[in-house]
């Protein structure tokens, strides 16, 4: 008799591993996202040059690049299921919450990989002053968690629309704007020695609020 597992950690873990294996096999998403991040990065640094003395512009550019890298890739995990019509199979082995949680964890992992490449490259290419690592990484982690959670939830919605990924940027922008605004403000502050406490609390609060909303809404995402 099947156990209670299909909505428990076992299902989430199985789905996460499947997502990683799928991504490793097809490598589609990773290449596209890395290519996107690096090209937008080089075009920015080429156009703007070194900005060591303008931390506010640097902060804005960093998060714009990260935002668009996220927008270019984080809906793919759902779009792929809808286009491959494998959503039926998935819904027959796991609950909506387990499916979405597995995919959320994958998206966060995916975003982390993108940032591992993009952020160091950004700091070097843009000639950014060395960040005060504590606050900088704090903002990066909390910002990415909120960014990933919001993007994943909206990604699950637009995956079921006609335009699919085309709609992703416009529809997710109002949801992701608070994250980017707070992250930019904090990144700027850490470069000029200011405190990031307010923004960090805000990012954490917004991330948790988005996660709570997600967990309540996942059941309503797939029903026809």
């Amino acid at each position: 008799m099947p156990t209670e597992a299909s909505s428990s950690p076992a299902a989430v873990w199985a789905i996460l591993r499947k997502e990683c294996r799928s991504e490793w096999r097809t490598r589609y998403g990773l290449n596209a996202a890395l290519l996107f991040a690096v090209t937008s990065l080089t075009s920015v640094s080429f156009a703007v040059g070194r900005l060591g003395d303008r931390p506010d512009v640097l902060a804005a550019l960093l998060w714009v690049v990260l935002l668009f890298a996220a927008l270019a890739s984080l809906s793919h995990t759902f779009v792929r299921e809808v286009e491959g019509r494998t959503m039926t199979l998935l819904r027959l082995v796991a609950s909506p919450t387990a499916i979405a949680t597995g995919k959320l964890l994958f998206n966060l992992l995916f975003l982390a990989v993108i940032e591992l490449v993009t952020v160091p490259l950004f700091l070097i290419l843009m000639g950014a002053p060395t960040p005060s690592w504590g606050p900088f990484l704090g903002v990066l982690v909390l910002g990415s968690l909120a960014l990933g959670t919001g993007a994943t939830l909206v990604g699950a919605i637009i995956a079921q629309t006609r335009g699919r990924a085309a709609l992703f940027a416009g529809v997710s922008f109002p949801i992701l704007l608070p994250v980017v605004a707070a992250a930019v403000s904090a990144t700027r502050a850490q470069w000029s020695g200011g405190s990031v406490a307010v923004e960090l609390r805000l990012l954490a609060a917004y991330g948790v609020a988005l996660l709570a909303a997600s967990l309540m809404l996942y059941d309503h995402l797939w029903e026809d």
């Binding site: 629309t161 335009g163 709609l167 309503h220 995402l221 026809d224």
Partner: protein, 215 residues
């Protein structure tokens, strides 16, 4: 019909009062009167968004398309009032400070609401099946319910500290002369009644559309 006639006279009367009876706010001068239109429009924008979000949650619980009609109608009307508020706001800013747009916290908040409305309606236009459109737009509306407080109250304040606005922001707390206050709240009530009237008509249209689709 009497109610509608009453609304016609009510708003007309208070427009006249705004021009002939209420005094001008000293600092604002003749531009005071834009506020009689701008602030009620902003109020209806927020009211309509709230109405749409409440009905979205109700739809998710009951799956009754009536709630979806209410949510969609409120969003469409809300968008109209939001555009009106944004334009009247920037015209007023131009008259007051010489710039159509300077990311003043209030302007930023209204503009962000415009983005939310735009995103919601764009999402609806991209889904064909009524049930799926209702369900997914309700889910999005619930997400927006979480992000709007951050968008309206938090982000503009952050931005404001980022770029301390050199211009003095006189729109802080206007000490309203009692007559101004009366006219202002009367028009606020008038606009609210107008919203619910248009909403009722738009919902009836939505019902007709569904009936036509199902025949």
């Amino acid at each position: 019909m009497i109610l509608r006639g009453l609304l016609l006279l009510w708003i007309a009367a208070w427009i006249v009062a705004a021009f002939l009876w209420a005094p001008l706010v000293p600092v604002l001068g003749p531009t005071t009167r834009v506020l009689y239109f701008h602030i009620p429009s902003a109020w209806v924008t927020v009211l309509a968004l709230g109405w749409s979000m409440v009905h979205s949650v109700l739809y998710l619980r009951s799956r009754n398309l009536e709630h979806d009609h209410q949510a969609a109608a409120a969003a469409e009307i809300g968008l109209l009032f939001c555009v009106a508020a944004t334009i009247s706001g920037s015209l007023w800013a131009k008259a007051m400070w010489g710039a159509y747009w300077n990311w003043d916290p209030r302007e930023t908040s209204i503009f962000f609401l415009l983005l939310v409305y735009g995103a919601y309606l764009a999402l609806r236009s991209a889904i064909d099946q009524p049930e799926r459109r209702a369900r997914l737009s309700a889910v999005y509306s619930a997400i927006a319910f979480v992000s709007v407080p951050f968008l309206v109250f938090v982000v503009p304040r952050i931005y404001f500290t980022l770029h301390p606005d050199p211009l003095i922001n006189t729109r802080g707390k206007i000490d309203m002369d009692p007559r101004i206050r009366v006219v202002f709240f009367a028009l606020l009530a008038g606009f609210t009644a107008l919203f619910f009237w248009v909403q009722s008509v738009r919902v009836r249209v939505a019902r007709l559309e569904r009936r036509a689709e199902e025949r």
